[in-house]
Amino acid sequence: MNKLLVITFSFGYLALLFGVAYAAERRSAARKSLVANPYVYALSMAVYCTAWAYYGSVGRAAHQGLSFVGIYLGPGLLAPAWWLVLRKIIRVCRQQRLTSIADFISARYGKSASLGALVTGVCVLGVVPYIALQIKAIANSFVVLTSGPHPTGATGPALFTAGALAVFTVLFGVRSVEATERHEGVVLAVALESLVKLLAFLLLGGFVTFGLFGGFADLFDQAAAEPALRQLFTFKSAGTSGAEWLTLLVLSMSAVLLLPRQFQVAVVENVDENHLRKAMWLFPLYLLVINIFVLPIAFGGMLKLGGRALDADTFVLALPLATGHSWLALLTYLGGLSAASSMIIVETIALSVMMSNHLLMPLLVRVPAARPEGQRRWFAYLSRIALTSRRLAVLLVLALAYGYYAGVGRQLPLVNTGLVSFAAVAQFLPAVLGGLYWKGGTRRGATLGILAGFGIWFFTLVLPTLVGPGRLPVSVLSDGVGGLAWLRPGALFGLDGLDYLSHGLFWSWFFNVGLYVGLSLAWPPTALELRQADVFVDVFRRRSLAEEVTGWQGRTPLPDVRALLYGFLGKKRTNQALRAFAERFPDALPSNVELIHATPQAATAASPADPRLLTYAEKLLAGTLGPASARLLLASVAGAEEISYDNVVGILKESQQLLEANRQLQKQSRQLQRLTDELRQAYDQLQVLDMQKDEFLYTVTHELRTPLTSIRALAEILADNPDLEEDERQRFQHTIGREAERLTRLITLVLDLEKYESGQATLSRAPLTLADVAQEAAEAVEQLARERGIALRLDVPASLPPLSADRDRLMQVLINLLSNAVKACPPGGTGRIALLAWPAADALLLCVEDNGHGIALPEQHLIFDKFFQAPNQTMRKPAGTGLGLAISKKIVELHHGRLWVESAPGQGARFFVELPLAAASRPATSLAPAARA
């Protein structure tokens, strides 16, 4: 293709990025953020897919089959656990104002400057070759596009690209001295680039699969016909071992968490923790989608271009070019440019802040300690130096990367550079995870662990790449360093049989984890480490008391602190921050007015700063200079921070006890709540019972009044009329007697009922023959039945097993049922009553059957209630007291039996009594309280 056209498009595309970033910054300044949503967040995370993914995955797939998926599946498998891990890191970083992986590790292990510098060094050494790989990818793709498939001089375009990206990064990536500030322009540009590379790759994949071939089935059929390709279908035949696959997964998992650029987009640029929820499935989905066509493109390339001895990494461009679709090749090239440039931009920003804050600043803030007179002026300079040094660091990183590419990278095979980079940052994993979940980790353990891991990493993974003519002799690989067989980089200490990556990762982690845990356990943590551990590990549980109480204790004059902040943050930002502090801790400042507006002349009269203000100031400075420099800086005004070990331990213990007490309190309060609920229920029940009692009393007195009224009336008549005829008198006296009897009966029944209901009734059980009792009961009502012309049939076999029951009470039940039946039956010869009995499973069943008027279904429950009178009784005086069935039911229940009715209006009624035979063995002689409810 025309070189000029490609250059125009490249720069046009970069100009578009500038425009987008500029627009985002403008919108951000106007508080209408384009970035504050989960979709941009998830897309910006896709900076994970670099040019190495874009071109290299296809190359890897063409030679090693499916193993490339592992590099993207790892983050996919880790993503669900982000809710625990990444969210915790985000929370800690926001609370402590940490802005890089170096900040994080340094702050966790006692704000150590040396540890921060070590982490930064590992990052720079591990990642710069990775950036060089991106530059190489851009340069090579440019050459492939413009001059054909065999790249020659590519230094020119590489230099231009690096230059353009440096300008972009300095303009949009390093804007403010406060590193906690988010870079909305960069994030939006990166999100857009993620979209471009995805679309370009999908378009190409679709073109290859459906344009050059007839869909997936056709493509794989053709590939299956080639033995060399067919063996890439499985891990077994492609030579990918289970260990290698696992290593790829684990490496990519740690990379997506710890790579400086991933830390930058996922933690520093995070607007809202809740965005993580969508990103947790959107980001893996992105990785999945971009991987679908990798294998088809690789196979397509091998099938169509296999004979031309091409680098498989260039298939992505060579395929559309070879088939004459140069526009598609151009689009694919822009996709690759997106992938490479977004990685370079974000990685460079992250590295520049780390280098400035951890390599340069700790040295500079130490300088004024020797010359206190110029201190204030020096601090004001420092803030300017910080910003400038970051810009210079951007240039330095890109220059290093370009230098690496130009000097080493063009000769060295760069296939594994990405994974070797991953393995370098994977050395932080023990210190980071341990720091998040284990309070025992110490600075000494972390430092030596990372150092040892890094050393092994270099020996096992980097050294082999340096072997070649003019560099290291091949004998280093075969005979070991210095001819020592146990120092072979590919088989350290004789460990043979693992692949290159698994071997390197195993040994580096072996020493890393071993030293980290071992040394942490060997020496106890210092007070500061202990305090930081508390802050990090318990970030979700509570605010650390220790941090507030055991901070800076010195009596530092307030103006000194303010002057320090002025120097770094500027007047406006300092006042803003102090106002925020005053709102949070109103008691910590003598007077807000003094704090914010006092002139330096009034300094002498000022009171010392509150320790909490010093801690706050330290965090503010940490957001600018990193935690280690901030601590050193504050120490220069506040005197050395003296944290007493006992003090910290005491407070930690106290807060632990507080937490425990709080938990106890919550438990007790829950118990109390449950008791209250139970009490309320009992009260409600009592109220219902009380109402029932009232109702009962009302009915009883009403029932008692009826016979009493008639007795009184008759007695009055007798008293008022002494000359009443004898006949009449006798009739009245007879009625009085009958009514009194009725009254007595009623009272007896009420007392009976009360006895049953209160559970005081007892049974005097004795074995009895049911037939006898039935016979006796039938005799008792026989007279009454005969009077009304009702036939009474008795069918109770004498062979029934003996029943243990209270004879008198049982008799009472039967008589009650029979007399009810008599009352229900029509008089005049058609009435029929039967008393039947038969054995059931372990009970006896009794049935009193009549052919009376029957009972409607809704009333079948009510008839067992106290004082229920059947509504269709037309007699002026009801035939019964309304207590008979209620008492009968109680008696049967006292025998652990059941009493129920089956009936329909006009069909007669059947009352059933079920009496268990086994009841004799049960000692219960009184009603259980539950039966009353």
Binding site: L66, L73, P80, F220, R230, G242, W245, L249, L285, F540
Partner: protein
């Protein structure tokens, strides 16, 4: 006593469920289970192993999406 109402999913429960999902799928997508699908067969023309990895991965994404659903 009435049955206690189901309490809303807390952050801790959510985290544990998600961790379980990650662990389960890590086991599904590693040896020795992976060896079951590591053979020459093809489904609708697509190599078995490739299809298995991508579909299982998709399932994990769907499961994650379902587990983190709820109010933003």
């Amino acid at each position: 006593m009435p049955p206690e109402p189901t309490p809303p999913t807390t952050g801790q429960q959510r985290g544990q469920r998600l961790l379980f999902a990650a662990g389960l799928f890590a086991a599904l997508l590693n040896y020795p289970l992976l060896a079951v699908f590591d053979h020459d067969g093809r489904v609708a023309g697509v190599p078995m192993l490739y299809l298995y990895i991508l579909l299982t991965w998709l399932l994990l994404i769907a499961l994650t999406g379902w587990l983190v659903r709820g109010r933003e």
